[in-house]
């Protein structure tokens, strides 16, 4: 009885959150599902049932495939770079050196910088005529002429990824550092005295402590990267030639600029599905890794 009363009380305490979630997430999501089977427009007509027409039309379109490739490219490269760089810098921060406390404090800065400001800052840096990157490269003798970083498909995506990595690798580094500090010193020392070299120590002693936290970072960053909107909206608006138009930008365009709420909704749900599958796959991997490790 006592436990039941406690459970009931817990439900009561949970209720406000659940009500709010239902109002701002549950219901809108359900309505998005409904809209995705209609030809509703954003303003005006209610929308008639059209079956799966939105889905088939959208999935078969050149725009969708192009945006999917752009989103995947952005996500894979930026998350991979953030994890690699994050682990390396985490290992560095775990060493003893002058100014270590200061450097750790600095790592919080890119994370704290608002995304919109980050995007604006990098857009200015990449400016083809008066940007700092072109000026620095030519003045250092690393490049002969000014480049249109955000104006060519070959470099625009790379430029976006660099901007995203710069903002997000410090967070991964801090997570890695926290995990590294949990590695017991005596195991390290024992491994050293057993004659293990640096790589073996990292692989067999340190890495197991890093895997869990890094998997979480991997999942979170992948989800974030797949949803990317702000950064691209400000830096390229999807250009040049729509080579950096992410799926989120495509939904915005479809639902709000072209006002086709129905087909925009179907596209948004497809993105949601892809993210869910990705996150599910990661979680399954994590569980397997945890099973092996424990």
């Amino acid at each position: 009885m006592f436990t039941d009363r406690l459970t009931l009380r817990a439900w009561v305490l949970m209720l406000p959150l659940l009500v709010v979630m239902l109002a701002v997430i549950g219901w809108p999501l359900a309505d998005t599902v409904r809209l995705s089977f209609t030809d509703a427009r954003l303003v005006g007509t209610g929308g008639a049932f059209v079956g799966v027409e939105n889905y088939t039309g959208m999935l078969g379109s050149r725009n969708f495939r192009k945006a999917l490739v752009a989103t995947l490219t952005f996500s894979v490269w930026s998350v991979a770079a953030e994890l690699c760089l994050g682990v390396l810098v985490g290992l560095l921060l775990n060493q003893r050196f002058y100014g270590r406390a200061l450097l750790r404090a600095l790592m919080i800065l890119p994370w704290a910088l608002p995304t919109v400001v980050n995007a604006t800052l990098w857009r200015l840096i990449y400016n083809p005529e008066y940007g700092a990157l072109n000026a620095a490269l030519t003045q250092l003798g690393l490049a002969d002429s000014y480049q249109s970083w955000l104006g060519q498909p070959g470099t625009a995506m790379g430029a976006l990824i660099v901007a995203d990595v710069w903002k997000n690798f410090p967070l991964v580094a801090l997570i890695a550092l926290a995990a590294l500090q949990a590695v017991p010193r005596d195991i390290q020392a024992a491994a050293t005295s057993d004659g293990a070299n640096a790589w073996q120590r990292f692989r067999h002693v340190t890495l197991p402590y890093l895997v869990g936290p890094l998997m979480v970072a991997l999942v979170l960053r992948t989800i974030e990267a797949f949803k990317v909107f702000d950064l691209i909206w400000i830096m390229t608006r999807g250009g040049p030639a729509n080579s950096t138009r992410s799926l989120s930008l495509l939904v915005y365009q479809e639902a709000f600029a072209f006002q086709r709420a129905g087909s925009g909704a179907s596209l948004a749900l497809v993105i949601t599905l892809i993210i869910t599958v990705l996150a599910g796959a990661y979680l399954a991997l994590m569980r397997r890794a945890a099973g092996q490790g424990g």
Partner: protein, 278 residues
């Protein structure tokens, strides 16, 4: 670590310097742009340091006569973030505590956290239609309500992780003494959990401050337009004074960066706890 050679020590220091420069250079440049004259910024070769410090953009943006629109967006951002944070804490504290004390409810919280996977575009059309129907488009209150969809799950998750280590015997003792639920929370739990609540508060505020997509869609004018939307408008390629854009960026970045530096210990433990414990 005991057998560090000199070469390794040098390598570590050089690498640390490289990381520090990588982090600082773009930020430093943002600040330099904000105090450089337009002529310095369009010079070829570029002037890396201005001949004279030009603070006119700060004056332009921060005085009511010339910066009314910017100041309004600053105020809106503060209002929206404050309301959304408060709302998230109000629903997040009881829910986080309940989930921490009753593992049976863990799946509910899991479901709430799973909403993090939803891209905002998947909710934006219905949210737009609802807000329109309620007359809450272009309204700070309506925007704060929408922000709850981002803040509440995150805050609850952080709080639950923070509540977990607080021993249960205290509250059991208080419950036996006849304290009711509210007294229990107020007298026993919250004082112990204050650091966690403070961390959650800061995170929530920063998340709201950072938000752009909903702000772009759901606000139209100075009544509700937030700072991130105002900056995006400036950065849209239609303002030729790069220094002005940079200045707006510096001002928008100051609050979170200051909070980040001052509260870094709490923030890092909050961030990494979440990461380490999952």
């Amino acid at each position: 670590m005991e057998h560090r050679s000199l070469g390794f020590a040098i390598f570590v220091h050089v690498a640390a310097l490289g990381v520090a420069l990588t982090v600082l250079a773009p930020l430093g440049w943002l600040f330099v742009m904000s105090v450089s004259s337009p002529a310095d910024l369009s010079a070829k070769p570029l002037h890396w340091w201005p001949d004279s410090i030009d603070l006119s953009r700060y004056r332009q943006l921060l005085t009511p006569e010339t910066g009314a629109a910017f100041l309004a967006s600053l105020r809106n951002s503060i209002e929206v973030a404050a309301m959304a944070t408060l709302g998230a804490l109000l629903v997040g504290i009881p829910a986080g505590w309940a989930a921490s004390r009753n593992p049976k409810l863990g799946w509910t919280l899991g479901a709430v956290i799973a909403t993090y996977m939803l891209p905002p575009v998947a909710l934006s059309v219905p949210l737009y239609l609802i807000l329109a129907k309620l007359g809450l488009l272009n309204n700070v209150f309506g925007l704060a309500l929408v922000y709850l969809s981002i803040l509440a799950p995150f805050v609850t998750w952080l709080l639950k992780a923070g509540f977990d280590p607080i021993p249960r015997d205290l509250e059991q003792a208080a419950a036996i003494d006849g304290a009711n639920l509210w007294q229990l929370l107020r007298i026993v739990i919250l004082p112990l959990a204050l650091p966690v609540v403070a961390t959650a508060l800061i995170f929530a505020f920063l998340l709201a401050w950072d938000e752009f997509f909903y702000g772009l869609l759901f606000t139209s004018n100075q009544d509700a337009k937030t700072l991130s939307v105002a900056i995006a408008d400036l950065a849209g390629g239609r303002v030729s004074d790069y220094g002005l854009i940079a200045t707006a960026g510096v001002i928008a970045a100051l609050p979170p960066v200051a909070v980040g530096l001052l509260m870094q210990r709490a923030l890092i433990s909050g961030l990494t706890n979440g990461g380490v414990k999952g």
